[in-house]
Amino acid sequence: MSSYTDEQVAHLVDGTLDWETTFRMLSMPKDAGRFAQYLAALQARVRFDDRIILPLGPHLYIVQSATTGRWVTQCDCGHVFGDYRENWKLHAHVYVRDTPEAMTEVYPGLMAPDTRWQVYREYYCPSCAAMHDVEAPTPWYPVIHDFEPDIEAFYKEWVKLPLPARAS
């Protein structure tokens, strides 16, 4: 079983880990303690006091609210997107690239999708404007609720960590 220092995991999070160690991470069996080290590294980097329960993206987390004890989806600027079981995108701001002009803002002519076939939906944090996701569906496609983690099974059965309390 491999193991890595907290410093190495912190470098991984920052994208500054040396290639030799990164390659070892890729090629060796996984280090079971990574999740706890990862949470610690992330917690040290965010400005909020809420406890990170599960990272969802580079700026998005499920956290235990320090004030209510509820589990919510939260941006690293502190903006709350609602209950962790809900689709956070429904509480975001969206910009839809559904015209040729909007598409050619991001790709040269001929290299962008035809908006009669496909659009881009850019989901931003309403507070800090971090772009948390870009969907590229057809027009009409429902906003996708793309991840519903089984946090309880993960903590209790997989990584054997105490499950943080959750106020209802």
């Binding site: 076939w117 881009y120 429902p142 991840f147 519903e148 089984d150």
Partner: protein
């Protein structure tokens, strides 16, 4: 004396245990289903009692499989096999379950197994018989092959008169004699035009190919020289592996071998479950992907009016990772198969997925059917990934498969990211195209076909800690290689005028996708030459991940009556290198003003004529990006600018980078002004966006008004036609009135095949093998 022998009653007793192969296989299935362990193996007695002996057997067999592949491929003349490595050898146990496989196109772990199971289910042991020294050939897509150009040779392995297993070898041939040349052609809309189709036919006895087979097969394709050498490659590899098995049994005994051939599959099943628990996270992941099927265009010339419509492939996937480490992949809501060559058999899907998974979840040498037994697949009957009609075409099933699987990368990427294994995250795979194909009379004066495998080196998806690899790989071949220019120029009457990294082809992000590349080809010394395009153009099939953008879409460039012969003779300027910015075309400045040029997004075409000195741009796609582009290190953007991976306009617009360029053309970013510009971009984002629920009200009204292109409506209509569940979810999400409906027959486009279909299983005396929940 007057009683019928086993031969007359059709019972060959190949196993020497009084059971038919079918009865024996049924027992394996029953024991697997009853216990949850392959063949009821709760204990791995051989592995646990003699772990070193077990590992020695593994090493000998795996090493022999890889060695056979590396040696046999040197026989082939086709660059697809010899250069790109489009071949694979696989060892099976008696019931056709994969024991071990070589490197290469390991999608065929399951496809050749499906062919063996088809022979078992349909009593091949009685007729045509299965004997030592036999060879069977299969490329039938209706029983599991991916596409007809993957030709499999399957050889039974006997020991002391009993069947103990099989070995299969597959190569991707250059041409299958389909309606148009090239191995993955587009001109046909049904199986009947897909080319020479062989259904588990006995093509050899006593280790020799049968003469009728040789004569018939070689004249059924356009490229007999390559065909013959490909077959010799497959036969040589199979026979090497058969000898290896005999050698192993002589050294270690038949009991050890037989135990290994069962236990290693159960070990593979447990291995996948273990990897899932070690690397992922339980829960539900919902991802979706699409790809365009633009057949309405005049440059798609097919023989059926009913195929002339624009449509979209829809591949929604709900991936459920369970607390016990098992997983389920459910494609409820997928769109219907269509009149094109992109349909995929269920086995192409379930088997092909491992060629992807061995690059991420199971990067192990022990790829076998164990992973299949650890996975629940649900592919609804009638969808593009499990057609319910025996007429469907499959020549380029990969077009849909690579698109469908791009969604799975994102599901797994989410799980790796959330768990902290950032090094494993991959935003997705490129749409592995364009496919340059065509044929005619080549530079040697012979009837020829071409299929450039440069697509085996597209950009890869971005990781959560680094950029994707540039022009490096294809999802369908973990050992992909773009091939040497010199070899392609020998194989194709097409000279290279450029081979360059494709600027802006990768998906933007904190970490960008790998760049694709482009090659400009000039027809030279050919006669009656044709070519066509095959790829995505109007849509991306990949998406970015967590704020990253998808890769760029494809487009086509072709030029005729270029006048290049005269320009070369007079030393005039020539179109050389890359098509750097298609918004500002440059090639046209170096060909005759009267040249006929096609520059558009129609990336599926059919065979069109090309004269010598005509041009064709082969643009191989990039990979998708990861994370918000304005989080990208400004120095990384600077490096992209200085390598011409990125056009300056998009460094500003997408990455918010402020830079200067010196007299030598070197770019330097200004980090302070970049930070300020990025702050401004955040304000611009919020100014142009609106709350999602507000936007949903507008979109809902467009749905109520049926305001969308016909191809979008057609996609939804075919999905609704197959899935009431998906339709209900759609209507519930948008709060549509009960009366709202969308039916294919109301769209004013051909709906041939929408209502009346006939599955292969309805043919007399045919038992199909079903390996998924339908």
């Amino acid at each position: 004396m007057n009683m019928m022998s086993n031969k007359e009653v059709g019972f060959a007793d190949l196993l020497g245990n009084g059971q038919t192969l079918n009865q024996f296989r049924d027992g394996v299935i029953e024991r697997t289903q009853a216990t949850g362990h392959y063949d009821g193996l709760r204990e791995l007695a051989f592995r646990d009692s003699d772990p070193i002996g077990y590992e020695k057997l593994f090493s000998k067999l795996r090493g022999g499989l890889v060695h056979a592949r590396e040696t046999a491929k040197k026989i082939a003349a086709s660059p697809i096999v010899e250069q790109e490595g489009e071949l694979c050898f696989t060892l099976y146990n008696a019931v056709g379950d994969c024991v071990l496989t070589s490197t290469g196109i390991i999608i065929h772990v399951g496809t050749m197994g499906a062919a063996i199971k088809y022979m078992i289910e349909n009593n091949w042991e009685a007729n045509p018989g299965i004997s030592p020294g036999d060879m069977f050939t299969n490329n039938d897509c209706s029983i599991g092959n991916v596409h007809p150009c993957d030709i499999a040779t399957i050889v039974p392995i006997f020991w002391e008169g009993r069947l103990i297993g099989w070995v299969g070898g597959v190569t991707h041939v250059i041409d299958t004699g389909s309606v148009t040349p090239g191995s993955m052609s587009t001109g046909q809309t049904q199986r009947f035009g897909d080319g020479y189709m062989i259904t588990c036919r006995k093509t050899g006895v006593n280790d020799q190919p049968l003469r009728d087979w040789l004569h018939e097969s070689q004249r059924s394709v356009r490229t007999p020289k390559y065909w013959i050498l490909d077959e010799k490659t497959r036969i040589a590899g199979c026979h090497m592996i058969r000898e290896l098995v005999e050698e192993v049994i002589r050294a270690d005994g038949i009991e050890a071998y037989q135990s290994f051939a069962r236990e290693v599959i159960e070990e593979g099943r447990r291995g996948l479950q273990g990897r899932i628990k070690a690397m992922t996270l339980p829960g539900k992941y919902r991802k979706v992907s699409f790809v365009d099927v633009p057949y309405k265009h005049d440059d798609v010339q097919v023989s059926n009016a009913f195929a002339k419509l624009d449509s979209i492939m829809h591949s929604p996937c709900e991936m459920t990772i369970k607390a016990d480490g098992k997983w389920r992949l459910d494609f409820e809501g997928a769109s219907r198969w269509g009149w094109h060559t992109f349909n995929a058999h269920q086995v192409a899907f379930t088997s092909g997925i491992w060629v992807m998974m061995c690059q991420t979840l199971v990067p192990t040498q022990r790829i076998n059917d164990g992973a299949y037994f650890a996975t629940e697949f649900r592919l609804p009957k009638g969808t593009w990934c499990n057609p319910d009609d025996r007429r469907t075409g499959h020549a380029y099933a990969w077009h849909f498969l690579v698109s469908g699987w791009s969604a799975l990368w994102r599901g797994l990427g989410q799980s790796y990211f959330s768990r902290g294994y950032l090094e494993e995250v991959n935003a997705g795979n490129a749409n592995t195209s364009n496919w340059l194909q065509g044929g005619g009379i080549n530079q040697d004066g012979e009837i020829h076909a071409v299929n450039s495998f440069e697509a085996s080196s597209c950009g890869t998806g971005a990781c959560a800690v680094k950029d994707g690899l540039n022009h490096a790989a294809a999802i369908w071949n973990p050992e992909g290689d773009m091939g040497d220019i010199e070899i392609w120029e020998m194989a194709e009457p097409l000279l290279y005028l450029g081979r360059n990294v494709k600027a802006n082809s990768s998906g933007y992000g904190k970490y960008r996708g790998g760049c694709g590349f482009e090659t400009l080809r000039m027809v030279w010394n050919a006669q009656d030459w044709t070519m066509f395009f095959m790829g995505n153009g109007f849509m991306n099939s990949d998406w970015g991940l967590m704020g990253g953008y998808p890769a760029a879409t494809g487009y086509r460039f072709e030029a005729h009556r270029t006048g290049l012969d005269k320009r070369i003779a007079s030393g005039d300027s020539l179109p050389l290198g890359g098509d750097l910015d298609p918004s500002e075309p440059d090639y046209e400045r170096h060909i005759d003003a009267t040249a006929r040029v096609k520059r558009d997004k129609q990336c599926v075409t059919t065979e069109d004529c090309y004269a010598n000195h005509d041009l064709y741009l082969n643009y191989l796609r990039g990979g998708p990006g990861f994370g918000d582009p304005i989080d990208r290190e400004p120095k990384a953007v600077e490096a992209d600018l200085n390598q011409a991976f990125l056009l300056p306009e998009y460094a500003q617009k997408v990455y918010g980078v402020v830079f200067t360029q010196d007299g030598k053309g070197v770019f330097t970013v200004d980090e302070e002004r970049t930070a300020a510009r990025r702050g401004q971009m955040r304000r611009e984002r919020l100014a142009r966006a609106m709350p999602t629920r507000e936007w949903m009200k507008e979109e809902r009204q467009r749905i109520v008004d049926k305001h969308a292109s016909t191809q979008v409506q057609h996609m939804f209509a075919t999905s609704f036609g197959l899935s009431e569940k998906f339709k209900k979810q759609f209507k519930d999400f948008w709060s549509l009135p009960e009366s709202w409906d969308l039916r294919e027959e109301d769209l004013g486009v051909p709906s041939y095949g929408a209502s009346h279909r006939m599955d292969l299983s309805r043919l007399p005396d045919v038992s199909t093998v079903v390996q998924v929940e339908e």
